[in-house]
Symmetry: C2
Subunit: 695 residues, 2 copies
């Protein structure tokens, strides 16, 4: 046990140390000429301004919630430990920290990447990927150290027993969840309102190219890529990462549970050990990410991920075999998750790649106009749910065969074990995107711009795959949390009571399933509606500036980028409140209302249904939205590459409309669902002791 602890501690420190080393290396790279530095500075300022404003809102929310949790722990018989409030606070702080670091490094690296590609592709790739790696390593490093630290603190120092300690750990997960929620929703609204605002007026109305420096919303758009795809994505996966580990530990800690009985205390540390191995594997894999001077960027990135995956598969097996004295059941469970993650990623790639049939089908449909483009994109998105669902279902059944619910949770840990490198690959995308934007705005040479765009194109694919991975891992993490919830009921109820609560012949459970399935719809409506509203404010501002400042006619006039940045920031923060609060209070309301209205156990039955309904429908809708959005995006790019009439053709116009519809789908509403399904589960687990009081 102590040996595992040491490995875990070292892995976390190595991750942070290596991240620091990469950041140091990036800092030393040139940021290019003055113009480039100026643009990069503006993006950075905008991003940090948003993050700071968001942090203020978060401080309020986190503060209130900490007080509530702390207060609730004093309710007699509440069974809620004060440590939960403390862990909540730390979880929130660490999540904010990792998002903050990731975004700072990403906004630092964009101009350096653009400068890098001047030299050659590999240089640009290396800088962009390194900045993503900083983010990835911070997330896993702070994640593993946070969980390990909390556990050590409460278990070894305060001498709580393992079950109570893991319960406290859910507070940590809840903290990470809360930050992720606002980061995803707020970031998603920010990025798409800026993007749509910039496109609708700039590209469509004024016919100026993407990233044209005369467009007042262009900086806000570039900032948006960072706050949405870097900070939002990072917080999302930070949450999945820590919650998968915590859920597995909790399942191992419940006396009489499968893992507890079979493997004893070792089962508790196993998820941490696997994650630690994943960190080392990720770092080793990162060393493989290099293209030739003009080589294939995509396969470079993929090689790294594959190397890490194989390392985890091999080393994980050895470690589990060693720790569990030759027992390999949990290893198969972990492997199932790892493989499911890869399958989901490949499926996403197929459905959103410019080179495959689904995207070509949408581009073909664009020839008959926007309506058929939209319909075909919806068809594609809906069809794309099949493989991810089958992968998750197969992994779940398989993992359960080998290690019951502990195995299901462990499969989530397995899927997320290579997060260090897979997140690096994701976050590479927005950096490359920004680099291409800076190359365009700073008017760098044609060759440089083309190289930057080639980097960016690969980034789009990896970003799409990253989205698939984020959704898939959210689903398995949520499953792990639900499993923990169901097993945790044993602490309070008899087997007969539990079997009544969890039966689908219980109408409160069925009602919960309906309500849970409905929540993603409301959530999509709210977030998509918010993008619409915010985008309209942006459109008005951009139109105003074009007109009043004579931006297109007077070469001496300059747009006021800051005003657009401010609009995105303010609207995003305002619009994220309602969906955010909804996600947190829905399970509380169901638990309490059903508990008060119905017979004994109705509240928990309703909650069980709520979680099951929201995770299934939320998962499916998230995949649908992400893939439909990604496919529309790439259908447009496919046409822009000169197919089916190319830029300016009627098919292109139709495809642009498809892309605009897809934007909030894939970058706001879809990703927000990842958080919704996890958050509701973790809220349920944190407040379980209270729900028990209400029956």
């Amino acid at each position: 046990m102590e040996n595992i602890s040491i490995v875990v501690l070292i892995s976390g420190l190595v991750a942070l140390f290596f991240a620091g080393y990469l950041a140091y290396k990036i800092r030393r790279e040139s940021s290019g000429n003055e113009k480039m530095q100026e643009i990069s500075h503006a993006i950075r300022q905008g991003a940090i301004a948003f993050l700071n404003s968001e942090t203020k809102v978060l401080i309020i929310f986190v503060g209130i919630m900490t007080v509530i949790l702390a207060g609730a722990s004093f309710i007699p018989n509440s069974n809620l430990h004060w440590g939960t409030a403390f862990a909540f606070l730390i979880g929130a702080i660490l999540s904010m920290l990792s998002g903050n670091i990731g975004m700072r490094i990403a906004t630092l690296a964009n101009a350096k990447t653009a400068e890098g590609v001047k030299k050659n592709m590999n240089k640009g790739l290396s800088i962009a990927f390194s900045s993503g790696a900083v983010m990835g390593l911070c997330v896993v490093g702070l994640g593993i150290l946070g969980v390990w630290g909390m556990y050590t603190l409460f278990h070894d120092l305060f001498h709580l027993d393992a079950a109570v300690t893991t319960n406290v750990l859910f507070g940590f997960g809840f903290g990470a969840s809360s930050v992720a929620l606002f980061a995803r929703v707020g970031g998603g609204i920010y990025t798409k309102s800026a993007d749509i605002g910039a496109d609708l007026v700039g590209k469509v109305e004024e016919n100026i190219p993407e990233d044209d420096p005369r467009n007042p919303a262009v900086i806000a758009d570039l900032v948006g890529d960072n706050v949405g795809d870097v900070a939002g994505m990072g917080a999302d996966l930070y949450e999945s990462y820590v919650e998968a580990i915590i859920a597995t530990m909790a399942l191992a800690a419940i006396a009489g549970g499968f893992a507890f009985t079979m493997y004893g205390e070792k089962a508790l540390m196993l998820p941490l050990l696997i994650s630690a191995i994943g960190i080392f594997a990720s770092i080793l894999g990162m060393l493989f990410v290099r293209s030739g001077k003009k080589g294939n960027v995509y396969s470079a990135l993929r090689n790294g991920l594959f190397v890490s995956t194989i390392l985890v598969a091999v080393l994980g097996g050895i470690a589990i075999w060693y720790v569990l004295d030759g027992e390999l059941g949990p290893y198969y469970a972990m492997l199932a998750g790892l493989i499911a993650g890869i399958i989901i990623g490949l499926s996403t790639e197929y459905f959103t790649s410019e080179k495959q049939k689904p995207v070509h089908g949408i581009a073909e449909a664009a020839k008959t106009g926007p309506a058929t483009t939209i319909i075909q994109g919806m068809v594609t998105g809906m069809m794309s749910t099949v493989i991810p669902v089958l992968a998750v279902v197969a992994a779940m059944i398989f993992a359960y065969q080998f290690a019951e619910f502990y195995g299901v949770a462990l499969s989530a840990v397995g899927m997320l074990s290579v997060l260090g490198i897979s997140l690096a690959t994701d976050c590479y995308g927005p950096v490359a995107d920004n680099a291409a934007g800076i190359a365009e705005m700073a008017g760098l040479g044609k060759e440089v711009r083309e190289r930057a765009e080639a980097l960016d194109a690969v980034g789009n694919t990896t970003a799409a795959m990253g989205k698939g991975f984020a959704i898939g891992s959210a689903a398995v993490t949520a499953l792990a949390l639900i499993a923990t919830f169901m097993v945790s009921l044993r602490l309070y109820y008899s087997d007969i009571e539990i079997s009544q609560m969890l039966s689908i012949s219980n109408t409160y459970l069925v009602a919960g399933v309906f309500l849970g399935a409905m929540l993603p719809f409301i959530f999509i409506a709210l977030t998509m509606g918010a993008v619409g509203k915010a985008a309209r404010s942006m459109v008005d501002e951009v139109r105003y500036q074009f007109k009043e400042f004579h931006l297109l006619t007077d070469p001496n006039s300059k747009p006021d980028y800051k005003r657009c940045v401010t609009i995105s920031t303010k609207r995003a923060l305002r619009e994220m409140i309602v969906p955010g609060v909804l996600a947190v209070i829905s399970p509380i309301i169901i638990g309490v209302v059903f508990g008060l209205v119905g017979p004994k156990g109705a509240g928990l039955a309703g909650l069980a249904g709520l979680l099951l309904g929201s995770i299934t429908t939320g998962f499916l809708l998230a995949v649908f939205l992400a893939n439909a959005g990604g496919a529309w995006d790439n259908a447009k790019k496919y046409i822009e590459a000169g197919n089916l009439g190319g830029k300016g053709s009627p098919a292109h116009k139709a495809a642009v409309i498809g892309d605009t519809v897809g934007d909030p789908c894939k970058d706001t509403s879809g990703p927000s669902l990842n958080i919704l399904i996890k958050l509701m589960s973790v809220v349920t687990l944190v407040f379980l002791p209270l729900f028990v009081l209400f029956g």
Copy 2:
């Protein structure tokens, strides 16, 4: 008991008799001038041609299935009675019959309605509504007589006990289901491929108005309204109607079940009695449907429905009180369903009405182009799921409180009790739509055309409400069937085994929920994709005819309507096979594969999950698609009425695109989901004895 039987028999005969009387009256009305008769004849021919071709496919499917069912009844220990095969055949035949009658009368009444409005509004309303009433009464009449007849035959003549008899009755439901499936899917594909084909070339490319006789697809479009909204809708609700009754009877027949224990044999006949009362109430309500000479058509229709509803609420209460000796629990359950149906209808109206905020919001969004129109429509559709879900959930919990699952099933019977008049109101829509088309094509005077369009506009609202009602009743019927499935397990398994099978801690059940939730997505993708393909064939044909026949330049040239009708027919029949077969075999595959692969009970656990997952997600997606589609449609109409720039403005163009996207949503994919969720449940119930063999 015998008294109830007599009331039921009389109600069915009265319904058919009254339908015959109305048909006789309609026949005697004038069909207008030669031109009108010619058009009406062409529509009628096209509709009958489609129905005949569809029937050929159905005969093959029904034949094969009858053989399979009959064959399966000879498998030793299969517990499947041969009567199931027989009932299946009869159910299929009666469903086809009621669809056929309804469509024949609808296609007969269209020209007569157009001629009627020449006189005054009320005359037109009366003819159109009467034709809808013929359909409504045939559905309920043949429905109640079919169920009653089957029950009497097997129970009284063949002396099967009540439980076996009701099991045989599910064969009847399965027959109705199969026909409904192909009618909805085939009809939905037909109607929208014709509609989109006619619009994309006629309205968008050639700039000729809706229903212009020079458009080669115009007859196919008018035929489509009949095969989709009349025959498809009728078969859908025929299925819901009989299955709600059968499920309730089955729950009453299971020894040891709640209703059996509490109310004995009377509980078995109660759903038939309530339905009989509903028939009388519907006929009485129909007498209230009359506007003044220029009066409000919409409130005339609504009055009729409200009168019937109140009559059922009052008479149903008295009847239940009398039959159950003062026991009113089941009455409250029934009432809950009745009220939920009204709430769902009103909610649909709110979200799709031209006069309400949601539609105005979409119209406003149309000002910033097609993309924002689509986004706003999606937001509206997603939001519109809230009230229907709450209504269904509340009705379920409420009904369960008063009479357990028997109450849940009875609430479906209650909701569907007024089907006679509510279906009349729905089917009025397509007749009025056709009448407006004929008035346009035959070049009737401006005033007549305006009156016909006013009738049509109301028809759009009632059609939207009818869709909401169809979805809501499908959901409660499916719930009733799932309840029956769960209770039926008692015939084969111990309580402990059942509680394991139905627990959400069973991973096979959870896997089933995921797969069940995925099926509606596949189903939408298939049906929407089918519309896209079929529409493209139609576009090619219409373009070809415009060019080759010089339709717009040569006043002597005539389009070949028949070729378009043939294309729609052939494509619809071809494209309906895959989704149709998928719906039938999915539960069989899950039941058998999970049964073979997993531990004991895994197959049934998977099935339970499959049904639960498909009904929740299917219900939500159906509401979303129907209301988004309806709202887009009316946003376009709102702009066409002169708002926000009116016809030809950029906002109008955007709204037309929204409407085109909404078309397959609301008329093909959405309605098909109604059948999917019911069909899978009824397949599960029919094959339950076999699934038990596989474990």
